[in-house]
Every structure is written in C-alpha cells, then in structure tokens.
C-alpha cells in the first residue's frame, strides 16, 4: 500500500459523485460570477443581481433562526423579494433543488404592502428604497433576516446591506437588528463582510 496516498483521496465513487456535483456547481457559478476583469468592468444590472441572488441564497447557511421561526421541522426557508423581480427570477433558478441547513428553499415575490409573514429572509430592492424605513419598521423584532441594497439602510434597521466596491458586490452587517430578531449570524459570515456594525 502506498503510504503517500493511503486514506487521502476520495474513494472512486465519492469522487465521481463530487465531480458531477462540481460540474453542476461550476455551471451555476460560471453563470453568476464575473469570469474575468473585462467582464467585471462591464457588469450590468443583470449580472449584479445574479451575484446578489447567489449571496442571498448563501446567507441562509450562516444564520441561525430562533425556535418558532419555522412552522415545522421540515418547513422551507422562505426568501421574500420586494421590488427586484430580476433578482427573484435568478434566485428561483439558484435555489431550485437546493437546501439550506437541511431545509428546502423557496422564493416568494412580494408587492409593496404585502404583509411580510411566513418569511425567513426578506430582500428589499432599490426600487422600494423610499418605503424602506416603513417596511423595516414593520418587521422590527421579528426573526427575519432583512437584506437591502440602499445606503443608510443599516441605520434604518436592515441586517445586511449590499454595496458595490470596485465593481464587486460586498455587504455590510449590522448586529443590533439581528439581535432584536433573535438571529445569530455566524462569525464566518462576519469575517467576509466589508463592515460589521456592532452594538455601541
């Protein structure tokens, strides 16, 4: 037995499975991430939303909702999207067949004024920046991860706010509104956040 290789590489079976998954994921990521610098520079709205959709899906893995946030054990993680149809479309494609923390994921488009009930994640697009304060105020204290893409959104009570820095999508995190909603955000997520607003 070759000691250099023993017990290191995956078994042939798991390797082939991994390869299939990898190919699948690669296809997905290729479609949403900037391939090179020139493409990134000419990034348009669509590709920005593609990235944001992917991030939005992934945030779920780094957040712990309190007991009672879900109706049942196998209740899906519901991501509500307000005022960003393109993103909602992308997101719907991404989450198809995927799960977060062992739960299926579903996307629900909301209109302004729809009660944000039965949601775990709520994305509020720029289109509704004017009503941001109102919407955020209405969900304050709920176990709901609010994600926005507007300046000053964190001050208004949003948990995560997307920003674009050097043509790349980044995000800031505010811990106070998360604590208010009993959400626990993983330190690993905070590690990749551009800025973390901590309770003073």
């Amino acid at each position: 037995m070759d000691p250099l290789n023993s017990g290191i590489g995956p078994s042939p079976r798991s390797r082939s499975v991994g390869r299939a998954l990898g190919a699948c994921a690669l296809a997905a990521v290729v479609s949403i991430l900037p391939v090179d610098q020139s493409r990134a520079q000419s990034e348009d709205q669509a590709s920005e939303y593609r990235v944001k959709a992917a991030f939005l899906y992934k945030f779920g893995s780094y957040v712990e909702w309190p007991d009672g946030a879900f109706a049942r054990e196998d209740s899906p993680v519901v991501i509500g999207v307000i005022g960003a149809d393109a993103l909602a479309e992308e997101l719907a494609q991404i989450v198809a067949g995927r799960s977060v923390n062992g739960r299926p994921v579903s996307v629900r488009r909301l209109r302004a004024g729809d009660p944000p009930v039965g949601l775990q994640v709520l994305f509020i697009g720029r289109e509704h920046a004017g009503r941001l304060a109102e919407i955020l105020a209405s969900v304050k204290g709920r176990p709901l991860l609010t994600v926005t893409e507007s300046d000053q959104a964190l001050d208004l009570g949003s948990v995560i706010n997307f920003v674009v820095v050097d043509d790349k999508v980044r995000f800031d995190v505010a811990l106070v509104p998360a604590e208010l909603g009993n959400l626990r955000i993983s330190a690993r997520l905070l590690a990749v956040a551009r800025k973390v607003v901590k309770p003073s």
Partner: protein, 516 residues
C-alpha cells in the same frame, strides 16, 4: 591483511567488543531512524491533510462571497507553520483565488488545481484538497510543505556518526578496562612463559589476579613450572651423578690401560728375555750336540778298529761289550742328530711356496720301502694335496709321521697307512692314519714333548725327538697338530698348515713359545 589467528589476544578482544557494539548500534540506530522517518512521513501527511481541510473550511465564506482578500488573510495564518512554503486557493472554476508564500520563496503556483492527493516532489510535499460545502465544490486548497525526510536522514546520519563514535570510544575504554581482567593475566602468563624459556629460570611464578578460568590457567601454569623445576633439579642431580660415575669409570679405564701397557711392557721384556734365553739355549744345545759328535765318532771308530784288528785276541765277553758300546754310540749319534735337527728346525728361515704334499708323501713312502723291502704295508696317498710352506720342513714332517706309522705297524699282519686330507670350515686338515700300536689317550698331552716316549725302545726304536720336531715345524707354519688313538688299534695324526682365520696372527708364535 593478517589472518585472524595471528592477531594478539588484546586486539581480538578489542575487535569483539567494538564489532559487537558497532553491530548493536547500527541495528538499533537503523531501527530507530527507520521508525522515526516513517512516523515523520505519516505525521507530516496527516498534519498537512488536516491543515488543508482546516483551510478549506475557513475559506468557505471567502469563496462563497468571492472575497480574495479574506481568503488571503485566511491563508496568511500559515505563517505560523514555517514548514509550509506555499499555499494557494483555487475557486470553483479552477482559477487562482488567493496565494500565500513563505518569505523569500519564489514559487510558481500551478495554473490549475489537481484532483485530491498528496505527492512528494523533489523535497516538497504537495497536496491538493477540494473544498466542499453543502455538497457543492467551492474550490481547491493547494499546499506545499518542506519534506525534510532527506535532511532528517542526513541529520540522523550525523547523529549516528557521533553516537557511534562516542559508543565505540566508550566500548574501547570498557575493553581496555576489561583487558586488565581478561587478557592482562593471559599476557602476563605469556610474558613469564617467554622469560622462563629465555632464561631457563623455572623458579618464576605468574601472579594470580582472578579466580576464573585464567586463574585456573595460572595455577596450572605455576604447578607445571614447579614440576619442571623439581624435575630439572632431579635431572641435574642425576646428571651430576652420571658425570661422576663416568669420570670414575674413565679413571678406572685409564688405570686399566696403564696396567695393560705396563703388563705388555713387562711381557715384551720377558719375551725378549725368554727369546734371548731360548736362543742361548738352542745355541748351547746345538754346539753341545755338534761338539759331542766328534768324541762319539772317535769312540765308535776306535771300537770298530778294535773289532776289526783284534777280534780273535779278545775274549767273547769283551767282544759283546764292544758291540754294546758301538750300539750305544750309534743310539747317541741318532740322539745328537735329532737334537741338531730340532735345533735346525727352530733356527731355519721359512721359505714359503706351493708344495705338493702328495708328491712328498710318495717320496717318503718310497724311501721307507727301499730301506725295508721285505715289509708289506698297504699305503694309500691322496692325490692333489697342496699346501703353502717350506718344502724341506714339510718333508721332515711327513718323514716323521709316516715313519712313525711305518714303525708302529711293524707288528701288524696287515699294516695299513693312509695319508689324506679333510676340509673343515674352509681349512684343510691333513692326516696320517695307521692301524698300528696306537697309544693311550691319557698321555696325549705328552706326545709332542722332546724325549717323551710312550713305548719302550726295546719294542720300537726312536729318539723321542721326532714328534717334537714335527710340532715345532707345524707351529712355525702357523698350524696345529693333534692326535687321536686307541691302544692296539691305531692312531691318527692331524695337522693344519694355514693360519686359522679365527686365530690371530700372534697365535703361531705363542704356540711356538709355549713349546720352547
């Protein structure tokens, strides 16, 4: 290279100790090093695998949210692992996402990640490991670490050399220390043995330093020396005794030789005296005999004249007296003749040459037959009897012996005389045999003495000088003469002429002298 057997004990001991230590150390070090290298390899591999896994997990968020800066920060933790020379993170599409280099390293990162695995390349351990999160492949970790197996081997070789050196030095010291107890006593014995052999000093003793086998050897060696010492002393004593005895013997021998020489001197002197006396006696006897003949002849002559001229005038008794006188003078003449012959035989120089005894015997027999033609004697003479000697004297011998035989067979009806020879052990024995009167063997020793007669003159005439003369002649030839006889049946006279081989040359003269 010397054969092992010729190395000294000390070197052998050192060799054994060092070789044993060396072999034990090499085996032990080999085992330890082998084990350690294996452990090193395993632990490095598992360590790096763990490290890669850890990195993978740590960088999941960075990859997920496309943040190379955070990924680079994550990788920079590796600066606390100086063994890692380089690391890289590839994203899901296989592009380099973040890298890490140990200071002063110049490394070309692989352009594309490889499948999971670990390999050793040159002196580096290279590892690729995929980052999987929630069933999705997010990227690949690349790690490059120093694989110091070869350096470790070198280090170990250095350590092994030092350890070997130190251990061998200690072993050498131990061997030198042990030598005092092991080879030291043996070498001491060898040294003493050399000295003992060199100086022949058996009083030396080896010191007993231990009670092991060497101690036993020392005891045995000392016992042996004691035994040799004892024996040497004995041997020397016995040698001295022998030398003394030999000295005594040689002294005695010298004494004997001296006495012998003295004796021989005396014998020589006596012999000279005797010879002188003998010669004087012979001269005297010869001159007496010679001088006696003249008056005897005149007595006989005047007696004859008386008978011739005055026979008629003389009375019968006077004539008978005159006859008596004349026969006595004749007898005396014969005696004188015999004595002169005997003297002549003694004085005459021997003229040795080949002599035909058969011929001489025949002449003698002829002479006798002519003198007494009326006697019928059966005489047989062997042919071809030859001898070395003086012809005249040998004639006298046969004349006497055959004459005796003739004379002593005169009263036999059938007289027989035989002259022959015998061979006995290479010598020729001549004999004269008759069937005459013989004699009593009791008187055999008197037979050859002068004037010795075994028969009365009235029975057989004779002077008693003949056999003495014969014996004298035979002795002068270096021979012997003896006789066998029986009264009334005859006699045999044997004689030899050549010197018997087993008799020394001086024997003839001795015999002659004894006769004189």
């Amino acid at each position: 290279m010397k054969p092992l057997g010729s190395l000294s004990l000390r070197r052998k001991l050192f060799g054994i100790v060092l070789l044993t230590a060396l072999v034990a150390l090499i085996v032990a070090l080999g085992a330890i090093v082998g084990y350690d290298l294996r452990i090193y390899h395993r632990s490095l591999v598992s360590d790096m695998t763990t490290q890669a896994e850890l990195l993978g997990r740590t960088t999941v968020p960075a990859l997920a949210f496309d943040d190379p800066k955070v990924a680079a920060e994550n990788l920079s933790v590796l600066r606390f692992r100086p063994a890692v020379s380089a690391a890289a993170l590839y994203n899901a599409r296989g592009a380099i996402f973040a890298t890490y280099k140990r200071r002063d390293e110049h490394i070309q990162f692989p352009a594309l990640p490889e499948t999971d695995g670990i390999r050793i390349e040159d002196r580096d351990l290279i590892l690729f490991r995929r980052i999987v999160s929630d069933g999705e492949i997010l990227g690949t970790v690349y790690l490059r670490a120093d694989y110091e197996l070869f350096d470790r081997v070198l280090d170990y070789l250095g350590i092994a050399a030092v350890v070997l050196g130190a251990a061998l030095a200690i072993a050498l010291l131990v061997a030198m220390w042990m030598e005092r107890f092991v080879t030291g006593p043996v070498l001491a014995i060898a040294e003493i043995a050399r000295e003992v052999v060199g100086k022949r000093d058996y009083s030396r003793r080896a010191a007993k330093l231990s009670s092991d086998e060497v101690g036993t050897l020392v005891d045995a060696f000392n016992d042996m020396l004691a035994e040799i010492d004892r024996r040497t002393v004995e041997l020397e004593a016995s040698n001295a005794r022998l030398a003394r005895e030999i000295e005594e013997r040689s002294r005695a021998e010298r004494e004997v030789l001296r006495l012998n020489a003295e004796l021989e001197n005396r014998v020589r002197e006596r012999t000279v005296q005797l010879e002188t006396a003998n010669k004087e006696l012979e001269a005297f006897s010869y001159s007496v005999s010679h001088d006696l003949r003249a008056p005897l002849r005149s007595i006989d002559g005047f007696g004859q004249a008386l008978i011739d001229d005055y026979a008629q005038d003389l009375p019968e008794p006077a004539r008978r007296y005159l006859d008596r006188i004349r026969s006595s003078t004749k007898q005396m003449g014969l005696l004188i003749e015999g004595l002169l012959n005997l003297a002549r035989v003694s004085r005459r120089q021997l003229e040795r040459r080949q002599v035909d005894l058969s011929e001489i015997a025949k002449q003698v027999v002829n002479g006798l037959q002519q003198r007494e033609p009326d006697r019928a004697v059966e005489v047989s003479v062997w042919d071809g009897m030859r001898a070395e000697g003086d012809a005249h004297l040998l004639y006298a011998v046969l004349e006497n012996l055959v004459g005796n035989a003739w004379k002593f067979t005169s009263k036999k009806d059938k007289a027989r005389v035989e002259i022959g020879a015998l061979r006995d052990r290479g010598h020729t024995i001549f004999y004269v045999r008759d069937n005459g009167a013989g004699f009593d063997m009791t008187y055999a020793d008197k037979l050859f003495g002068a004037f010795q007669r075994l028969h009365a003159v009235s029975d057989y005439t004779g002077t008693g000088i003949g056999l003495a003369t014969v014996q004298r002649i035979v002795h002068r030839h270096g021979g012997r003469i003896w006789a066998e006889a029986e009264v009334g049946k005859g006699a045999v006279f044997y004689f030899t002429l050549a010197l018997d081989e087993e008799r020394p040359a001086g024997m003839a003269s001795d015999a002659e002298r004894a006769d004189g």
